[in-house]
């Protein structure tokens, strides 16, 4: 069953601009993770934010988490052509020991 839903489904921006992707989920979580997938490749872990954290940074990435709204956002600043990929949020539900559930992803295109 789908837990996280990314928005938008697709995003096209110019190099140097910021890209913002959103993720909404349905049930309480222990943590939320963001992954990147280049076309035809495996997923690469970007960042994990715990339910008691509100914001986290890693290089040009900034992730926020609003548990009251059950939503998270991923901001990529000063985007580069190499950031072109699909980005997925994945949630670890708080109730029970349930598998990490991925959304459908946002396809980001950064145009040089």
């Amino acid at each position: 069953s789908q837990q996280g839903e990314e928005d938008p489904q697709a995003l096209s921006i110019q190099e140097g601009e910021n890209a913002t992707m959103n993720c909404s989920y349905k049930t309480s979580i222990n943590n939320l993770q963001w992954y990147r997938q280049n076309s035809g490749r495996g997923l690469v872990h970007l960042i994990l934010i715990r339910s008691n954290e509100r914001e986290k940074h890693s290089g040009r990435l900034r992730v926020t988490l609003d548990t009251s709204k059950k939503s998270s956002s991923l901001l990529i600043t000063a985007s580069r052509a190499a950031d072109t990929a699909s980005y997925f949020c994945a949630t670890n539900q708080a109730s029970g020991n349930t598998p990490l559930v991925f959304g459908k992803g946002t396809r980001l295109s950064v145009i040089a």
Partner: protein, 115 residues
């Protein structure tokens, strides 16, 4: 190798045939996961191993799917009597600790096409 290794990278088979997909996790990682990804979708959980045992197989779609990890390292996903709907990329991931809470390290996937 340093990462999760999956073979074959591509597999084309005919409907009704038997298929095996192999995953070699990162050395020392006790947890191993299989996910399936259809075109335009996110990965869907299939099965999770902690050591040699299947700790959670709730995602296996039916009894045509089976996975083993006999020595707690390499895992094989087995699909019997393949159907066209089984066509997807099968992703393997490993994690240094158990449970479903931590970061997953993914392989490049095995693309299965059932004709």
């Amino acid at each position: 190798g340093a990462g999760v290794s999956q073979t074959p990278s591509n597999k084309v088979t005919e409907k009704g045939k038997y298929v095996e997909l192999r995953c070699d996790p990162i050395s020392g990682h006790t947890a191993l996961y299989w996910y399936r990804q259809s075109l335009g979708q996110g990965p869907e959980f299939l099965i999770y191993f902690q050591g040699t045992g299947a700790a959670d197989d709730s995602g296996l779609p039916n009894d045509r799917f089976f996975a083993v990890r006999p020595e707690g390292s390499v895992s094989t996903l087995k699909i019997q009597r393949t159907e066209r709907g089984d066509s997807a990329v099968y992703l393997c991931a490993s994690s240094p600790s158990g449970g479903h809470t931590g970061e997953l390290f993914f392989g490049e996937g095995s693309r299965l096409t059932v004709l």
